[in-house]
Structures are given as structure tokens and as C-alpha cells.
């Protein structure tokens, strides 16, 4: 029911917002404001974007050759270690940064040089950035007031959005009177109230404790389902990214390493960085397995088993430690090329120093260029 209500009113809201956007840059034709379903057109297209901070010739290159397309109603994640450029890319979609070269298209039109207030995109900031002098309800109403909505419409939308994030009883509180999780919900409500086409989330869960983070992961998925808004999330937490995303882009040192569904990326990492960053992976030099020396073989620990008559050993080594975890046993084995981790089903009580053979099925390994 809630879902239906949200969708119904969102069309009215869209019209109001588009009218105001059209007013603010009147030089562009109004026709582009009408959303036309176009299966060939992506909602967001980032085309050959490069960002250099400081001097264009020898400044710091934050992003390089970025190409991403994000679809309507998608939950898309930018994943990478800190300093990889994921936040810069998100801030470009929001309009806080402008690319040095390249295009950022929103529904087919290049918005790369437009200011944030002209984009139907809203952001949930890392530490929420709630207005401390305004109540919860006033915070949520802020965007609608700036769009010159009528008072009764604002009240209705604020109520509806606060109900959506389950904060109806806190409308008169100030942000400082709320817990971190509640502030997070206010930040979500504030950004969702104008029903943007894209919701950007900058490490939204990083300030929450583990239990609350799990809870909010479900909440975010639910909100995305119920509103039908495209979510673009930035995180450095690979578990979070795998659990929530429809698709994700793994980034490192200003470049996109791989784009795909969580399953694709987990099962078929494109390179050494992705294999190492997503989940756990044993990276074994090709030479150690009698292959080409220029490649690395990636094997997930859970696919490694002890050698048996029907699965001959691919590597031999000495047990370093074997930790019984209940359902599995985590083994660290020293092999000539380094160390291999194996997660073996059931109990395998092997004393340190025991010689073992390690094996895995052929489909468990991925050959990566070093």
C-alpha cells in the first residue's frame, strides 16, 4: 500500500520539480523534462571522465578514463579502498565536482557543468549534514520549500516520507536529540522527499555500529524497492557492496577495475586487485603451478580442499595453523611460493608441521594477468 501511495504522489512531485528546474535554466527546451521511456538510453552515463585536481598538466589525477552506465531503478555501488576516486565520482554526479574532461549524462543530457541545484539528484552525506537549527520535519521539508511547493503539499510529502523511514514520532526533534541511526533516517528522508531520479549515498553506514549497519542495509534495499528510485552508493566495505547491489563497480587508483553483478565479480574477478579486494583469495604465482610465469592463479579459500585419491594435490606444503570454526576449519599452509589459506568443510585436526597436499577443482581457479 505504502509503495502505491509513494508512486502515485511521486508523479505529481516530479511535475512540480521539473517545472522549477525548467524555470532555473530556461535556455534549454522544456520538452527534455518529460520522462520518455527509452530502453536504449541509460539513466546515468559517465563517458570518458577524467578528473585532475590542481594544475591540469601535473596535478593529482583522481579519476582516469571512467565509463559507467547506471540504469533506472538500479541499486548501483561504487566500491573501492579510500582514495580510489569513488567519492569524487559520486560528487560529480551530484554536481559538487566537475570533470576535467568527459561527459556526465543524466537521461541523455550532459549535466557535467551544471550546478547541483539544477539536477534531479539528491545526496545522503557521509555524516548526514543535517541542518542543526531545524527540526526533523523542517529538515525533510527543506528541499520541497526550495522548490516552492505549496504548504499543504509539503506537509503531506513530509508526513509520507517520515512514515517511509519510520520516523513519524520524531518530527519536532532537533537532529542533536536523535541517535546516529535516527539521524541517518532523517538524512534519507530529506534526500528522498523531493523524489529525485537518483539518490546518491556517500558511505551512509560507516558511522553506525555493526548491528545497526546490518539493519540499515535491509532498510536501504526496502526504500529503494518501495520508491523505485535509482540508488548509487559509495562504500569501501565489500560485504556491504555484495549484499546490497544489483551491480557494482570496483575502483582502484582512479580507475574502474571491473563492473558487474556481485556474483560475476566474486566468481570472475577481472584482475589481481579485484580478486584480492572482493572476498578472500589465494593468489598463487603461475610458475608455482607449472604454468606461464606471467600469470597469477586466484583460488578462493573455500574451494581449496585436502588432496585425496580422486583429487590429486596441486600444491604441497606444511600446515601452519588449523583453526576449527564449527562448520569449517580455517587452515594456513606454507607452500614454496608463499602461503595458502584453505577453508575446509568440517573438522580437520591437523597439527602444525604436518605435511599436506592441497587441491581444488579446475573451475575454482581464475587465471589473472599479473
Amino acid at each position: 500500500m505504502l509503495h502505491m501511495a509513494a508512486l502515485k504522489t511521486s508523479t505529481d512531485g516530479d511535475r512540480a520539480r521539473m517545472a522549477s528546474v525548467a524555470l532555473s535554466d530556461a535556455d534549454r527546451p522544456v520538452t527534455r523534462m518529460v520522462p520518455q521511456p527509452d530502453p536504449l538510453r541509460h539513466l546515468i552515463e559517465v563517458v570518458q571522465v577524467e578528473k585532475i585536481f590542481g594544475d591540469p598538466t601535473n596535478g593529482h589525477k583522481a579519476l582516469e578514463a571512467i565509463n559507467v552506465s547506471i540504469e533506472e531503478k538500479e541499486f548501483f555501488t561504487l566500491l573501492g579502498p579510500s582514495g580510489c576516486g569513488k567519492t569524487t565520482l559520486l560528487r560529480m554526479i551530484a554536481g559538487f565536482e566537475h570533470p576535467t574532461t568527459g561527459e556526465i549524462r543524466l537521461q541523455g543530457r550532459d549535466v557535467a557543468s551544471l550546478p547541483p541545484r539544477t539536477r534531479p539528484v539528491n545526496m545522503v552525506f557521509q555524516n548526514y549534514a543535517l541542518f542543526p537549527h531545524l527540526t526533523v520535519a523542517q529538515n525533510v521539508a527543506f528541499g520541497l520549500e526550495m522548490l516552492n511547493w505549496k504548504k499543504p503539499d509539503i506537509a503531506a510529502r513530509v508526513n509520507e516520507t517520515l512514515a517511509l523511514v519510520k520516523l513519524d514520532t520524531f518530527r519536532q526533534r532537533k537532529p542533536a536529540q536523535l541517535s546516529g541511526g535516527q539521524q541517518q533516517r532523517v538524512a534519507l528522508a530529506r534526500a528522498l522527499a523531493p523524489r529525485p531520479q537518483v539518490l546518491l549515498l556517500d558511505e551512509p553506514l560507516s558511522a553506525l555500529d555493526l548491528k545497526l549497519r546490518r539493519e540499515m542495509q535491509f532498510e536501504l534495499k526496502r526504500l529503494q524497492r518501495e520508491t523505485g528510485i535509482t540508488f548509487v552508493l559509495v562504500t569501501h566495505d565489500q560485504e556491504e557492496a555484495l549484499a546490497m547491489s544489483d551491480r557494482l563497480a570496483v575502483m582502484n587508483t582512479g580507475r574502474i577495475q571491473q563492473i558487474g553483478t556481485p556474483e560475476e565479480i566474486y566468481d570472475n574477478p577481472a584482475n589481481r586487485f579485484v580478486a584480492d579486494f572482493i572476498g578472500e583469495a589465494n593468489l598463487i604465482p603461475g610458475a608455482a603451478l607449472g604454468r606461464n610465469a606471467s600469470v597469477v592463479i586466484a583460488v578462493r579459500p573455500e574451494r581449496v580442499a585436502l588432496a585425496s585419491p580422486d583429487m590429486p594435490a596441486r600444491l604441497r606444503g606444511v600446515v601452519d595453523s588449523a583453526t576449527f570454526l564449527g562448520s569449517d576449519t580455517l587452515m594456513e599452509v606454507t607452500v614454496p611460493s608463499g602461503r595458502v589459506r584453505a577453508r575446509i568443510r568440517g573438522a580437520a585436526r591437523l597439527a602444525p608441521g604436518t605435511e599436506v597436499g592441497l587441491a581444488w577443482p579446475a573451475d575454482a581457479e581464475r587465471e589473472l594477468a599479473d
Partner: protein, 293 residues
Amino acid sequence: MIKLRPVFWLLLPAVGVIFVFGAIPLLISLVYSFLTANPYGGVAMPPTFSSYVQMLFDQDFDGSLVFMPDYIWIAVRSLYLALLTTMLSLAVGFPVAWYIVCQSPNRRKVLLTLVSLPFWINTLIRTYCWILILRDEGLINGFLKWLGIIQHPLPLLYNQGAILLGLVYTFLPFMVLPIYATLERLDPRLIEAAYDLYANRWQLFRRVIWPLTKPGIAAGTVLVFAPALGAFLQPDLLGGGKQLLIGSLIEMQFTSSRNWPFGAALSMLVTFAVLVALAWQSRRSKAGAEARA
């Protein structure tokens, strides 16, 4: 015996200074304002209310009291000038503070030093410099004459404009510094959030920056208003003493007029006005604190 916390001993020097140099002189003034004037300076017995009566009434030849608004006009004029000074300082000081906050940390330091640099030079000397700049043969008039734009010097000195200029010039740092302090603490992401939520520049200022810097604005307002109300140097030197202001009037009572009780009573009036302003400020900053809480 009550055990005092270390905080007490740390506060003691400050409290001592405030008591000796603030509270005691104020109490002496309060007592003096209820005494009789000694024609040779100083005060004498008996206690009387005549100094306060004198503010509103003049004694006629036959000893009856006649209403005389002269002193009220002086007070009103002083109030008006102090308020105008405060508003002009705010209008100039806010953009200056904003500009400084927007600079790199190193440039901020330089600019803040520049703002507080005038404190290193005596106010009297700085005010005399304005005379050199503004007088008929001064810097501005001389330059304009040299350019041939004017034949006769512009009347820049010895008017209310000159007083206002002197007051704003002297007290501007007291407005800039507290506003700078609040602006510096403003989270820049709030500005981004406002822009992200479709605010334009004016809406950003009106709805986010102004409410969040109110405590600094209120502090600056009081810091400028209080000394501007009691100032006598700028009105005397730049106004030429043509228009009497309450600061000059008080100064006169202790020097040429030798009416210490009346001077003390007028001081009490100024103190009262400043207290009202302080009460307003504390209400303002309390509202600000609640907004932040």
C-alpha cells in the same frame, strides 16, 4: 570545611581582576551618582537624586523644575549613532569574515592578523590620522584637487558622517572576529546539502548560514554597540564637538564642568543601555545554542 574544586583557584585571578577593575569602579560610580557635586571637583554630602532629576529637568530661577529635553536628545542621538555604527559594522564585517573563512588556512592567518593589526596602534593616533585624511587640505581633498575634479574642498570632516566613519573603523574588528569564529565552525557540507536540496545563494544565506551564525552576530553586535555608545574620542576629534554625544557629555562632567555626580549618573544610563543589549544577546545566543543542541 568546604573543599573547593581546583577550578575555583584557576578562576580566582580572573574573578579578582573583574572585581577590582570592573565591579568596584562601577559601584563607586553608582554611589557617586547619588551624591552632591563639589564645585572644585569630586563629590560631597548629602545624598540626593538631583543628578538623575537633572537629566530631564532644569531648575528655573525660582527653584521650580522645568522639563528640558536637551539631554534626552543627546542620549537619543548617541543611541542612534551607536545603532547605525553597529549595523554598518555588520554590513561590512559579515562579508569580510566570510571572505576570510573562504581562504586557505595560511591566508586566513595573514588576514586575521591584518584585521587585528589596528589594535597595535593607539586609538587616539589612529583617529588623528583620519583627520589628516579627511580635512580640507587632507589626503582625499588634496588628491581630488590635484586631479582637478573639485575646486573647493569637500566638507568631509566635522560632521556626523565623519563620526560614523571613525566609529565603524575603530570597532569593526569586534564585529569581524566573533562572526569569523562562528563561520569557521560552520560545516561546509551543510552548504553543499542546501545546494543539493535546490537552494539558491540567497536561500542558502537566509535559511542556513544566517541562523547558524546568529550567536556570532549577536556577540559582535554587543561588542560594537557597547563601546560605540560611550565613545567620546571619535565624536570629539572627527565631529569637532559640534554635536554633543553622551560619551563626550560624560567626559565633560569630570573635566570642565566639574559635576562628578551627574557624570556618574549619565554613566549609569549608558551602563543600563548596554545591559539591555547584553540581555538581548544572551537570549539570542541561548536560542542559537538550543538550535545547535
